[in-house]
Symmetry: C2
Subunit: 242 residues, 2 copies
């Protein structure tokens, strides 16, 4: 019951991640805090094996045989699909608490790469299945979380299909902020080309748009890949509701 309430609360985040197949089990998700590997309230705690991956390395590739699901405990991961000629679409950025590889398919349908050094829990499918059998409530939890991801994916469709470059970038920054609980200062550990491939733009357009937001005093770009939101209301207007 308390577990269910917690999940429902996560599922109802005003602006959940833009991640895919991402499962935010822990209420600490998104605050930058890492998931604790051994938490009695976490059904996945202790399952599988946990490993630290270096920055800019591949966790699994599109088309690889899919035997496990993964959960990010700390750090950041990007998921993407590529067209034959190299065009790339980043499906989402995963942070602490998010899951990936959940599809019921024989192969992974996207590539997962670390952006920063990342701690990842690898859980064999069989263990996850066993957990769902043992705890039917867990299967419902997974359903709820997957549905939230689907909602986020639909928001992303609106962004990609109908928003201008400035609206896309503003939406992206606000999402990152909301994910950190609405903080003014956010991390941008990923490069401009990652942002571009997530928003359906080019690196040049992302850079130009950020410069424009900076000139308009809506944001301030800080050292170390950080960024401060100076005028959240103006950004929100620009974003057209994420």
């Amino acid at each position: 019951m308390s577990t269910h309430a917690a999940i429902a609360a996560n599922a109802s985040r005003a602006v959940p991640g833009y991640l895919v197949s991402a499962l935010a089990i822990s209420p600490a998700s998104g605050t930058g805090a890492a998931i604790q590997p051994r938490n009695p309230a976490d059904p996945l705690a202790g399952l599988g094996h946990t490993k630290v991956h270096e920055r800019e390395t591949t966790v699994f590739g599109e088309g690889d045989a899919a035997g496990s699901v993964f959960r990010v405990l700390s750090g950041m991961v990007r998921l993407y699909k590529m067209l034959p000629d190299g065009r790339r679409q980043i499906i989402g950025f995963l942070q602490a608490g998010d899951m990936m590889g959940l599809a019921f398919a024989a192969q992974y349908l996207y590539t997962a790469e670390t952006v920063t050094a990342t701690t990842i829990q690898r859980i064999p499918r069989l263990e996850l299945d066993a957990l769902m059998d043992a705890q039917p409530a867990f299967a419902r939890k997974l359903l709820s979380t997957t549905t939230s991801e689907l909602m986020a994916a639909q928001d992303q469709m609106v962004l990609l299909g109908r928003k201008t470059a400035a609206e896309k970038v503003a939406s992206f920054l606000l999402r990152l902020s909301d994910r950190k609980g609405g903080e003014r200062t956010i991390d941008l550990p990923m490069g401009r080309s990652d942002i571009a491939d997530h928003l359906g733009l080019t690196t040049e357009t992302v850079s130009r748009t950020l410069t424009k937001l900076k000139s308009g005093r809506l944001i301030r770009i800080l050292a170390g890949g950080k960024l401060e939101l100076l005028d959240r209301d103006a950004l929100s207007d620009l974003a057209c509701g994420f």
Copy 2:
């Protein structure tokens, strides 16, 4: 009980939520065949209430209180989200077997309108919850279907973010065909502006692109909103794998 917890938590959303998922429960989906209301192999058979909706009518609107989920038994429905200034993104077109309104949110996150006259089964959330409690396998089935929807949503992100107009239209036509089991002749009951708002284009661009495909002998436009795929291989090359 679990339902109560979910609803209470959802009611506390700071921002009206966004949408939901579409699922294909029936293997007969997309063949044009209608779902049978009383099929012993269908766990949803006989649940809720079934009604025929006229063409171009609203089933539910974004923001409406969400008390039921719906399943399309025959006909076609479009799901869309709108930006404040009227820009529209069609999330998807639903056919026989597809479900909508599945999000665990207090409000529907998108609008559902019929394209053609459509038979729709309305199932109260409480009945669906009861079914999941009674048949854990059904919850797993819903999870599997929702995951498939998520994969489709990710393909759509690639389409919207990285494909050209011609690639978008070719992908769209091939998807419709595949949904009908790969038939050469497909139905296009929706208007050009519906297609445009699904692909992130304008009606003019959709029209021009179809004309170009017609000139290139890749397709043939038939009377009554039908279309024939003349060169599936060429379309497939164009589409870059959907």
